[in-house]
């Protein structure tokens, strides 16, 4: 893996304002993501995990500090960053193919080449037969796969995954996380995955960042090295080191039900 930083946050802090007052969401976040890395971000609820993604996507500006993507400071959404939300948000009035072309349409990049690339993605990931179907005709797992292809269609370098599996049932979730990890590796993208699920983070990522309670700071950084021939997340869960990582991160999260 070449050590070229593709996403960098430099002492990033962010405060939310409401009539009730000011809430510090993130405080002094410094991180580097290298090309081709898969980063998992875990942390307690409300610690600002999603805020980090919004900052990288250019949907928000930090109160202080700087965010860089490919060496340029982020000043708005760019086609280098793709965002995948918790729900698939496929548009019911568009067919699968029309949904997948949405990003290209908005960025005014619809041409023969980009359409062919998109059709190729649909075909590679087993959705070619459904291109003229409407979203309602597809299962939850398939819809989320369509959402991933919609994100990939604009050919971003970095993928931001904001709990993309949390709306799915457990089996679908496992199968889809496997598939998504494979797709992202195959397309050679860099990815940041925000999740509540520690196992998901460990099994999919090269590196897991643990955030503290609000205001979110980076508490620790775990390089994940699991032994096993098969790189598929479901198989990796069986690796002997998996438990150890899980226990360490679990302790760091310091979850109390009270």
């Amino acid at each position: 893996m070449n050590q070229q930083s593709i996403v960098a946050l430099d002492k990033v802090s962010l405060n939310y304002h409401s009539l009730e007052g000011e809430t510090p969401a993130l405080k002094g976040i410094c991180m580097n993501v290298f090309k081709g890395e898969f980063i998992g971000i875990v942390g307690p609820s409300g610690c600002g995990k999603t805020t980090i993604l919004s900052l990288i996507a250019g949907l928000m500006r930090p109160t202080s500090g700087q965010v860089f993507v490919e060496g340029r400071e982020v000043d708005g959404p760019s086609s280098e960053v793709g965002y995948m939300l918790q729900q698939d948000h496929l548009f019911e009035w568009r067919t699968i193919r029309q949904n997948v072309l949405l990003g290209l349409e908005i960025q005014d990049k619809l041409n023969k080449e980009s359409k062919e690339h998109t059709d190729h993605l649909l075909e590679t990931y087993g959705l070619a037969d459904f291109r003229n179907h409407y979203p309602q005709q597809l299962s939850g797992g398939m819809r989320q796969r369509v959402a991933l292809i919609r994100t990939l269609a604009v050919n971003p370098e970095v993928l931001l995954l904001d709990e993309p599996f949390s709306a799915l049932d457990y089996q679908t979730r496992l199968a889809l996380s496997d598939e998504v990890a494979n797709i992202i590796r195959k397309e050679q993208k860099t990815a940041l995955l925000v999740t509540h699920d520690i196992s998901e983070a460990i099994s999919m990522s090269d590196r897991v960042l643990v955030l503290s309670k609000r205001p979110g700071t980076i508490k620790s950084n775990h390089l994940i090295q699991l032994s096993g021939e098969n790189r598929s997340p479901v198989e990796l869960r069986k690796a002997p080191e998996f438990r150890e990582y899980f226990n360490t991160i679990w302790k760091e999260l310091d979850v109390h039900v009270s």
Binding site: L59, G76, Y83, L85, H89, W93, E105, I106, L138
Partner: protein, 272 residues
């Protein structure tokens, strides 16, 4: 993994189920038609046997004769087309203007907040009360009637459509923003298409509102149209004429409503 319907042959049990559903539907339809026929028959009978005074209540056969007369003189089509013209124009203007205003209010949070109390007040005002003002300002004629229809329908449209816009999931908008969408793109790619069901139900209400506006307008100023026919009939104490125009109104308004319902079906095929 598709949830398409299975195409294997239906079992006996399933056929029986389908038959039961169909029978129930037929029974409902028969009862509906029967109620109408019995009502008309009783009305006719009561008038024939002088239980009621047909001079005041009219009766189906007289309504039919009036209808035939109006058809023979050609007046029927003149009156219907006048009213229909006014309603369609009022309806179209109400929908277009109402939707445009809703778009402006959606676009600017500031304008929307400023306009809010005015909308509430205008919505509760019975627009019919503005009739005399409209006549003085615009003159007694077709324009005044169309204005009336417009006034009655526009506020409801604005409120209905705006609520539809505001119901669009913020995450859908966020998704577009991550692709770098502009405000115009957010409007045309998600807010408008996602609100089409709401807009269509606003249209359905609007059809009724436009008829109210037009008929009231015709009561006040007109020389022709179904509303005029009804008022004229009342003035010369010809209840047959009044009842006939009401009957024609019933049919026309229903047809127009069905037209909108047809549009809904045609353009919302993705709602399966």
């Amino acid at each position: 993994m598709s949830v398409n319907k299975q195409t294997k042959p239906d079992s006996q049990e399933h056929l029986a189920y389908l038959k039961k559903v169909k029978q129930k539907r037929i029974a409902v339809r028969i009862t509906q038609v029967a109620i109408l026929l019995i009502f008309l028959a009783l009305w006719e009978l009561a008038a024939q046997l002088k239980w009621i005074d047909a001079f005041i209540t009219s009766q189906p056969s007289r309504i039919w004769n009036t209808l035939v007369n109006l058809h023979d003189t050609g007046d029927l089509y003149m009156h219907v087309s006048v009213t229909l013209y006014e309603t369609v124009i009022g309806f179209t203007l109400g929908t277009l203007l109402g939707t445009t205003i809703a778009i402006i209010l959606w676009w600017s949070d500031f304008i929307s907040k400023v306009a809010d109390p005015y909308l509430v007040v205008l919505n509760s005002l019975p627009k019919v009360a503005l009739g005399p003002i409209i006549i003085v300002w615009i003159g007694a004629g077709t324009k005044a009637i169309i204005t009336m229809a417009l006034l009655v329908s526009i506020i409801v449209t604005v409120i209905g459509v705006l609520n539809g816009f505001l119901d669009v999931s913020p995450d859908k908008i966020k998704l577009l923003r991550t692709f770098g969408a502009s405000n115009i793109q957010v409007l045309t790619k998600v807010v408008l298409p996602a609100s089409i069901p709401t807009i269509i139900s606003a249209l359905k209400i609007n059809v009724g509102m436009s008829w109210v506006g037009v008929i009231v307008g015709e009561f006040l100023v007109s020389r022709a149209g179904l509303g005029y026919l009804a008022v004229y009939g009342g003035q010369v104490f010809q209840l047959d004429l009044v009842m006939t125009s009401v009957a024609i109104l019933l049919v026309s308004a229903t047809l127009m409503y069905q037209g909108v319902a047809w549009l809904e079906k045609r353009y919302l095929k993705w709602r399966l």
